[in-house]
Amino acid sequence: MVGPTFDDMTQQGVRWTAEQVLALAPDAASRKAGSKLGAAGPWSEAGSSDEGTVWGLCKGSGSKPYQTVIDVADSSGPAYKCSCPSRKFPCKHALGLLLLWAGDDGSVARAQPPDWAEQWITGRRRRAEEKRTTTGAESGGTSGDPEAARRRAERRAERITAGATELEQRLSDLLRGGLAAAEQAGYGLWEETAARMVDAQAPGLAARVRELGAIPGSGPGWPVRLLEECALLHLLDQGWLRRERLPDGLAATVRSRVGLPGSADGPPVRDHWLVLAQYDTADARLTTRRIWLYGAESGRTALLLSYGAAGRPPELTLPMGLAFEAEVSSYPGAGQLRASLGQRFTAPEPAAVRPPGVTPAQAAARYGEALRDDPWLDSVPVTLSRVVPAPDGDSWQLSDADGDMALPLSLSARSRPGLWRLVALSGGAPVTVFGECGHHGFTPLTAWPEGAGDAVGLC
């Protein structure tokens, strides 16, 4: 970058990259439509202000151009406003304008915002300010009748206990008759049991039961996996039934695994958080977004979860590779990395932070140790340093560049296009890889080249 660009950078922070903008897109169609609008052609009077407002007029099919304005400086993430009728959020015009801005080819000049953009921004900031003061005043106020809340919690605990007891009975019946017989019983049995657990207000148990139903059809070795999952479910039931006798941390873990909502009441940790990875998993009911953060000063890794109902994208979006200053509070439970995002002090910006890495052997040990706090844990987040992706029969492994140990890749990681990006990035040389390490193997999510270079998303 040259000349005026440097000036821009110092005034309004570093512009985002196209990938970071596209990561905001709610779906693939928007990503594509937005890319097409990321060129000067349809735009006029586009500009950006020192305060982090970007605006422009986009010519659509009608006679009047759409007015698009974005607030990129808002610490709670970018905010958008567009006069188009689209219900996508952000719409393709907002994405296109951000791309144009990110492309930095001079078509979004620094200027005074026009009235229509200025009005929105001012209104928005005023409302945000009001909200901040009101919530500040109300917090600690009316949180309902504590006695009634206690009784509600008690009733729910009784229902869960009844559910767990019933589930224990079903597991016993299953093992009395043998898993081979369960293969014939099929999915229906599990669906019904899962529904009973939903009635018992134990969504965590319900989800585990539903997963049991898929195991008999999951290919060779299914009896082993089914027994493992049945046994861990049994362990969770027993943990719940005896939660009074467990240490506090473990009891909290059991409560959250069973599906009781916790609140992120850990002390807020202010740090410079790097977004390590963001990825979605979806089933028919729900899209779950996982965002891994790494605190540059605390060295902590935290997991943010965000949900979107039935096909809608989750609201929280934090592009991989950016870092921001914010407070993060953890949820209760031993070994739990889940946290909630509190106040944000800066907008996400590109950062050169990289998490420190460990060897494959250390990563495996780290998962083993984490099971001590949470035996139901499938994987732990780990950064591997100096590993080489290497083919191993039909599969791949991440092999220690300075040793003779390697972590096999998980089944799901082998079929993803990200695998080839990782292999290409490495070219047979060591790379740094962040991912999830567990009993399924290692699932790479983000990689960095050995030398200088940006993070490459693999998910």
């Binding site: 196209a18 990938e19 082993v224 049945c230 027993q238 001590r372 003779d404 040389a429």
Partner: protein, 535 residues
């Protein structure tokens, strides 16, 4: 939980067996301690499961791949790398579709981007290689440029992923697998033992560098090759064809396979100094003459009466395709294979222009002109091409002979880029765009100013005439890719929606404005692409 002391090694297998069969049929191992059998089994299994998971150890490292060869080229500037990611994300099948509106067609810009990046000598970002290879897999026309840009690491990747094998075959010179011209032993071994595709790649690679060495290599095994293979190998001699090849090609005229004979004859006739060309010139001269006894000197034609063994040996196909007279068929082949320089001497020292302008008796003109066109293209003769093309502004009927658009496009290929652009600009100025598509396709990119100006003017005229822009979508698409980005400023005025005229097609003005906007946007994008790569 019952805590048990370390169970025997096969304890887990035993637990799985019991679980499969059921505790009713098989008692659980270990102490039940007053619990029901299934509960005791679940207790033991839970302990074992957590124990097994906690004890997960890394595996032995498999053999690591050899590191990819280093890519000495400088990396892409960051903006150019982002642009590449964007262009590759626009692959067909990556979602979306429908009407294009004013947005540029990014995929169509990829070839140009690759050509520019290659011209700048920049290295591909490694993480973009999978998308680049996937794109090249689907589009064979992109492969040479994509693979050149992708560099050594793409070949390294292609050896690991069967989907990308094409890169190993298609790589220039066959990739790192192929021996260099100095490795005589490896060349010989690969030539004798390699697969057909490898051998073709080897021969083509050597031919491009040392034409004689390739021919000599081919001669070592010529007699034992299968006919289809001989044909393919012979075809690869087209590159770097020279008079050195004549003795070999002369021998191939007696080949057992007719296709091989025909190809050998074709190659020989492209060598104006060859004995075959001289023989053909003699035969053709016997058929074509100027009759000076008429009022105006006129070309008279006496087509051959038979296709004798000598003609057949020299590659003349004796059997005419259905619907063609065999005598005119033979004549066409003779004239096509005759060195064009021979005609001036034969026809009274006239220049190509004068010859083409002579009247031809008995309706032979079409046949003769078509044969001269083929000869001019085959021999790459710009003088004759110029004469046959005539003036670009001449109307079709008054043009020199019935030279079709396809023939004109081929003839233009023998002229240098500047002359070509000028001729096509003249053609468009006189005839408009409706027939220009094929001719524009042979012009050098970006279009020369005169040509670009002619195209923009013609589009403007078409708009004012009130037709719809999609009648010109082919030319528009070409213009988006080929017009010089410098024209963008001139085009800006055309992007406004004009007042609807009475005789115009309804709504055409809006569509034209959209089409021009897309054109301007695409040109700007191309300018930005170039800027990014050169910064």
């Amino acid at each position: 939980m019952n805590s048990t002391s370390a169970p025997p090694r096969n304890a887990w297998e035993e637990l799985v067996t019991v679980a499969l069969l059921g505790t009713d049929r098989r008692p659980a191992p270990g102490p039940a301690a007053g619990r029901e059998a299934p509960v005791a089994l679940l207790d033991a299994a839970a302990v074992e499961t957590v124990r097994r998971r906690a004890g997960v150890r890394p595996a032995r490292a498999a053999v690591r791949p050899e590191p990819a060869a280093p890519d000495p080229r400088p990396p892409l500037p960051p903006a150019a790398a982002r642009r590449l990611a964007q262009l590759l994300a626009d692959r067909p099948g990556a979602g979306g579709g429908g009407r294009r509106g004013t947005a540029p067609d990014l995929m169509e810009l990829l070839p140009q981007w690759l050509a520019l990046a290659n011209a700048c000598g920049l290295a591909a970002p490694p993480e973009a290689l999978p998308a680049l290879l996937d794109t090249a897999r689907g589009r064979t026309d992109l492969r040479p440029a994509a693979l050149a840009f992708a560099g050594p690491r793409a070949l390294w990747l292609a050896r690991l992923n069967p989907d990308w094998r094409f890169a190993l075959r298609a790589a220039p010179g066959g990739g790192a697998d192929l021996p260099g011209p100095q490795e005589a032993d490896r060349i010989r071994r690969l030539w004798q033992e390699g697969l057909f595709a490898e051998r073709v790649a080897l021969l083509t690679g050597i031919r491009a560098q040392e034409p004689a060495a390739a021919r000599e290599l081919l001669e070592t095994t010529w007699a034992t090759e299968r006919a289809e293979d001989r044909l393919m190998f012979l075809d690869s001699l087209r590159t770097g064809l020279g008079s050195d090849d004549e003795p070999f090609l002369e021998r191939a005229l007696t080949d057992r396979s007719r296709n091989v004979r025909a190809t050998a004859a074709e190659l020989l006739s492209a060598l104006p100094g060859s004995a075959l060309a001289a023989r053909m010139a003699d035969r053709a001269a016997a058929c074509v003459a100027v009759d000076r006894t008429r009022d105006v000197p006129t070309i008279v034609v006496e087509a051959p009466h038979e296709c004798d063994a000598g003609m057949e040996r020299d590659g003349v196909a004796p059997k005419a395709p259905a619907g063609r007279g065999e005598r005119s068929w033979w004549l066409g082949q003779l004239v096509e294979a005759t060195p064009l320089a021979a005609w001036s001497a034969r026809l009274g020292g006239r220049s190509p222009e004068e010859i083409v302008a002579l009247p031809v008796a008995d309706d032979w003109q079409g046949e003769l002109n078509a044969a001269w066109c083929r000869a001019a293209v085959r021999q790459g003769d710009a003088g004759w091409s110029r004469a046959l093309l005539g003036s670009p502004s001449a109307t079709e009927a008054a043009g020199p002979g019935a030279v079709s658009l396809a023939e004109r496009a081929k003839l233009l290929g023998t002229l240098d880029a500047g002359e070509r652009a000028e001729w096509v600009a003249g053609f468009i100025a006189a005839h408009g765009l409706s027939e220009a598509f094929q001719l524009l396709g042979v012009c050098a990119v970006p279009w020369a100013p005169a040509l670009g100006g002619a195209v923009v003017d013609a589009l403007n005229i078409a708009r004012d005439a009130g037709s719809y822009p999609w009648s010109f979508s082919g030319v528009m698409g070409l213009a988006e890719r080929c017009l010089s980005p410098a024209e963008a400023a001139r085009l800006d005025a055309l992007t406004a929606t004009p007042e609807e005229q009475e005789d115009a097609s309804p709504g055409a003005g809006g569509y034209w404005s959209e089409a021009f906007q897309r054109l301007v946007t695409t040109l700007r994008l191309r300018a930005a692409m170039e800027e990014e790569l050169r910064s």
